[in-house]
Structure formats: structure tokens, C-alpha cells
């Protein structure tokens, strides 16, 4: 199997890598204190002192964006991790063993995936209340069914493949077959699903925080900052533009990686 980096993958990795690096640096060091107010430096345009300008309290927007994207990324990654791990678990068990449990779980899955993801997340939030951990919980739960569906198909299609039958004849346990022989072969569907899930998570978290039912202060995610930015768009358009731009770049980068992975997969096949 020959793997060649294609343009999509490369461009996506560069964008995402750069953003991750910046966010990582931002977690330890920001050029200004993101919460320090400066009444003399209100509504400053982007320039040498403040790369992205300042907001209505004179806070440095670049530093705030760095912190905010840290929150957004952490939530998105945690969400995808929950969705992918539990989803794959459900997908593996139902796809491999089949039977009544499979039928029942897939019915439930159909009912759940029928909902737009943000609606389900809102429902969970309305029951447990807002806050960053609850957002992770809500979105994580919401993402399990879609991962389960994708991996179930992959596991089910591998069930009767020759090398699996051979492994079974050689006395390999079900656990070993699932984890060692099947899991690596589901990566070609799992990886693109993870990039799509990541994008949905970023957008969903941003939407929820934008609506005021996601991350609550003092935590600030990019979506929450955009809702602040909307109210002062006429005075400081750069606030909304920089924040929205970073969200778009995050999703764009991951989208390109997903596109690249799928293209690579098609070329190999």
C-alpha cells in the first residue's frame, strides 16, 4: 500500500498544524493578559501593539483569540474522543456480533441520528445546564451514534473476510480479532469520520456558546467571543472578523485533511 501525501492533505496539515502550534503556545504565553482591561486602549485597530486590535474594554483580541481557541479546541477534541471511543465500541460490538442487540441499538441509533446534532445537544444542555464540561458531555453523547453507524458498517463488512476466518480458526479470541485484526482496517473510514466529527464539534460548540447556552464566563470560547463581537460590530469589526476567521480556518484545515484522506483512500483502492 503506497501512501502519497496529496495537496489537500498537505494544505490541511499546514493550516491545522499552524493553528495548533499557536494555540499551544497561547496556553502558556500570550503577548498580553487576555483579561487585562486598559481604558486608554479601547477599540484600537489591528496594528503593531495589538495584532488583532482591542475590544471595548481595551483587552488584546489576539491574546483572547489564542485563549478562546484553546477552549474551543479542547472541547472539540474531548467531544470527538468521547464520540469516537464509545461509538467505535458500539459499532464493533453490534457489527461483529449482530443479532437482536444489533437490531435494537440500530433502531435507537436511527431515532437519534434523525435529530440535527445541535438540537440534541441543546436538549441535553437544557437538562444539565450550560458550562464547558456539560457542553463536552452533550456533544460527546450526540456524536456517539454517527461514529457507531460508520464503524458498524466497517466491522460488519470485515466479519466474513478470509483473514478474519483464519484468525478465528487459529483460535484467536473475539477481543483479539476485534482489536488487532479489525480495528486497524476500519481506520480508513474512522479517520475521515474523525475529521468530520471534529468540524461538527467546533461548529456546534461555537454555535452553542454564541447562543449563550454553551461555555459560560469566565471561560471564553471562540463562539462566545463572536457573540460579544456582534454587539460591537459597528465600532470594532476586526473583533468579529478575527474571531470568525479563526473558527473558519480551524474547520477549513480539518475539512481539507478529511478530503485528503478520502482522496488517498480512493487512489489506493
Amino acid at each position: 500500500m503506497k501512501k502519497k501525501l496529496n495537496a489537500y492533505l498537505l494544505a490541511g496539515l499546514i493550516i491545522t498544524g499552524a493553528l495548533l502550534l499557536l494555540t499551544l503556545i497561547g496556553a502558556f504565553h500570550t503577548p498580553h493578559d487576555p483579561n487585562a482591561m486598559d481604558s486608554l486602549a479601547k477599540f484600537q485597530r489591528p496594528g503593531a501593539g495589538h495584532v488583532f486590535g482591542t475590544d471595548n474594554f481595551g483587552r488584546d483580541i489576539f491574546s483572547r483569540v489564542l485563549k478562546g481557541s484553546g477552549t474551543t479546541l479542547a472541547i472539540a477534541l474531548a467531544t470527538v474522543a468521547i464520540g469516537a471511543v464509545f461509538g467505535t465500541l458500539v459499532g464493533a460490538l453490534t457489527g461483529y456480533f449482530g443479532g437482536i442487540v444489533d437490531d435494537a441499538l440500530m433502531r435507537l441509533n436511527d431515532a437519534l441520528t434523525a435529530f440535527p446534532s445541535i438540537l440534541l445537544a441543546l436538549l441535553v444542555i437544557s437538562l444539565v445546564g450550560p458550562g464547558k464540561y456539560n457542553v463536552v458531555l452533550a456533544l460527546g453523547l450526540v456524536f456517539i451514534p454517527s461514529f457507531a453507524r460508520v464503524t458498524r458498517t466497517a466491522f460488519a463488512s470485515l466479519r466474513d473476510v478470509n483473514y478474519i476466518t483464519s484468525a478465528r480458526l487459529m483460535g484467536a479470541s473475539n477481543l483479539r480479532i476485534l482489536a488487532v485484526h479489525m480495528l486497524p482496517n476500519t481506520m480508513r473510514v474512522l479517520l475521515p469520520a474523525i475529521t468530520i466529527g471534529f468540524n461538527n464539534a467546533v461548529l456546534a460548540e461555537a454555535s452553542m456558546s454564541f447562543l449563550g447556552i454553551g461555555v459560560t464566563p469566565p471561560d471564553a470560547s471562540l463562539g462566545y467571543m463572536l457573540s460579544e463581537a456582534q454587539s460591537m460590530f459597528a465600532r470594532a469589526p476586526w473583533y468579529a472578523l478575527c474571531t470568525g476567521g479563526v473558527i473558519a480556518l480551524l474547520v477549513f484545515g480539518a475539512g481539507l485533511i478529511g478530503e485528503g484522506l478520502q482522496k488517498m483512500d480512493r487512489e489506493v483502492a
Partner: protein, 316 residues
């Protein structure tokens, strides 16, 4: 006909399941509604009286059934916050969101399908990368960000509509639709990108099939084959996808209504969640779920009419 009946039965069963889960979830977590309404200072006698009045003393299943019956009689309970019947609160907003989704749906259908066919020309060419990147970009920009930019440009600068001041749907339908149009455009952009992407890969897949090779080797030109045969065969996936789109639009409307200040279901939902107005949230969730499941069912039934092969197999 048998298939249609089966499909409608599934729809009803799904809705029963969804409504039960919703009711049970709220029952489990929302606590005592009487306490919520009267506050912590209420005397036990008052609480007991209100519970009696609201019928909270009845068993769980009885209450579920009478709540479910409310969807048919229009009696969905009283909003905690506004103290008016939930249905009166929901009905006018339902109309607004409905029209916004319809406008958006029309935009998506009318733009994305021709665009997908047109973009098929670039397959494999040097422009393919640009096209794909642009497509990904359209999906990447959050709708509320586009919404902020659009309501600033069209609302504040060009003054084509007044953000937050939504005309009455009944007295001034044209103006209301004009206001909704901008929100609908904003709502459509990422979905158009997704539909184009999906349609394009369907067309590419279809063009590799044997009947296309046959048609072309008989001397038909590619374009005619594409328009006469391939599009017809891609139609069922398009319909399924558009059915999902109808469902996704409802989710997207929650955000877009907030940005454009449109008094629709999404805004009501967000407001009700923030104020823990559970009767409203409960009713909205079931109504939106019904919308979603209905869209899927309609798409399946349409497909069954379009493609006779699906009628033979029964299950598609």
C-alpha cells in the same frame, strides 16, 4: 402502497419513541414543576394544591398519554414563564420558521443541482483543487459569522431590512419574506456546498457505470448522456440528501434566527432553555423531531415514486 403504509407506520413508531424519551427525560431531570412555578418560599399546602390542579398526582403513564393527546387537541400545557398556553406561544413562530426553511430549501435545490452538474466539468483538471478548497471553505465558515456580516452589510449599510424588526407575517407577507430571504441565504450557503459535493461524487460514480460506457460508445456525447441518463439515476440520492437537508435546516435555524433577530421556533427554544421553561422545550423538541422524521419519510416516499426498482424490493 404497501411500502408507503409500512413507512408511515415506522414514522409513527419513531415519533412515539421520541416523544416517550423526551417526556421521560424531562420527567427525570426537571424536578417538581409546582416547586419551579411557586418558588422555594411556597407552603406545602400551596404546592399540594397546585400539583392537584396540574394533575401531577396522577401516575407517570397517565400523564404521558394525556400529554401526547395534547399534540392533537392543541392543549400542550401552560408555559411557566409566560403563563399562556404553550400552543399559542408556538403557533405563530412555527409559521415563521417554516417559511424561512422553505425559502432556504428552494434556494438550495435551485442552486446546488445545476452547480454540481456544472462543476463536474472540472473533474481531474487543475481547477479541481480550487473548487474543492472553495467548497470546503463554504462549509467551514460558521453560519452565524456569515449572518453577522450579512446583517451588517444588508441591514446596516444597504438598509435592505431592519435587523431585529421583523414585519408581521400576516399583514405584510412580502416584507416578511424579504427579511427571511437574507437569513435563508445565510442558512443555505454551507448546505449548498454539501449538496454540490454529494451530487458531484454521485455523478462521478454514476458516470463510471457500464450503461454510460455503452451509451457513449454508441456515439452519444458525454453531455447528453449526463443530462438524459446520469442525472435521472442520481436523482434518488439527491432526494434523500435534500430530505436530510430539510432536517438540518431546522437545526441551523436556531442560530440564524438569533443573528437576524427573527422570532421563530429556534429563538423560542433557546430562550426557553435559558429560562428552564420545560413545557415549551418539551413541546418544541417533539415538534422539531416530527419535522425531521417527516422530511425523511417524504424523501423516501418520493424516491419510491421516482425509481420503480425501489418499489419491487420494498426496502430501500
Amino acid at each position: 402502497m404497501k411500502y408507503a403504509l409500512k413507512r408511515i407506520l415506522t414514522l409513527l413508531l419513531t415519533m412515539l419513541l421520541v416523544s416517550f424519551l423526551t417526556f421521560a427525560a424531562f420527567e427525570l431531570i426537571s424536578g417538581d414543576p409546582a416547586q419551579t412555578i411557586l418558588g422555594t418560599e411556597a407552603t406545602p399546602e400551596l404546592l399540594a394544591a397546585l400539583r392537584e390542579e396540574m394533575g401531577l398526582n396522577r401516575p407517570f403513564l397517565t400523564r404521558y398519554i394525556s400529554w401526547l393527546a395534547g399534540f392533537f387537541s392543541g392543549n400542550l400545557g401552560i408555559s411557566y414563564r409566560y403563563r399562556i398556553p404553550v400552543w399559542e406561544l408556538i403557533a405563530p413562530k412555527l409559521e415563521v420558521t417554516f417559511w424561512m426553511c422553505v425559502v432556504s430549501f428552494v434556494l438550495i435545490t435551485v442552486i446546488s443541482i445545476p452547480l454540481a452538474v456544472w462543476s463536474y466539468r472540472f473533474v481531474g483538471g487543475p481547477l479541481d483543487f480550487v473548487r474543492t478548497a472553495f467548497n470546503q471553505l463554504c462549509m467551514a465558515v460558521p453560519t452565524f459569522f456569515v449572518g453577522i456580516l450579512m446583517s451588517w452589510l444588508f441591514g446596516i449599510v444597504l438598509r435592505l431590512f431592519v435587523p431585529g424588526d421583523f414585519p408581521d407575517l400576516h399583514t405584510d407577507f412580502g416584507a416578511a419574506l424579504g427579511h427571511l430571504f437574507f437569513a435563508a441565504v445565510c442558512l443555505s450557503i454551507p448546505r449548498i456546498a454539501m449538496t454540490v459535493r454529494m451530487m458531484r461524487s454521485t455523478v462521478i460514480g454514476e458516470m463510471q457505470k457500464a450503461y454510460v460506457r455503452t451509451a457513449i460508445s454508441r456515439g452519444n456525447d458525454r453531455r447528453a448522456v449526463l443530462e438524459r441518463h446520469v442525472l435521472k439515476n442520481s436523482l434518488t440520492s439527491a432526494v434523500t440528501f435534500l430530505g436530510q437537508t430539510m432536517a438540518e435546516l431546522v437545526g441551523g435555524s436556531v442560530v440564524v434566527e438569533q443573528v437576524f433577530g427573527i422570532p421563530g421556533l429556534g429563538r423560542l427554544l433557546v430562550a426557553s432553555i435559558s429560562t428552564r421553561d420545560y413545557p415549551v422545550v418539551e413541546a418544541l423538541v417533539v415538534i422539531l423531531a416530527f419535522w425531521v422524521v417527516l422530511a425523511g419519510t417524504v424523501a423516501d416516499l418520493v424516491n419510491q415514486q421516482i425509481d420503480p426498482r425501489l418499489r419491487l424490493g420494498g426496502d430501500a
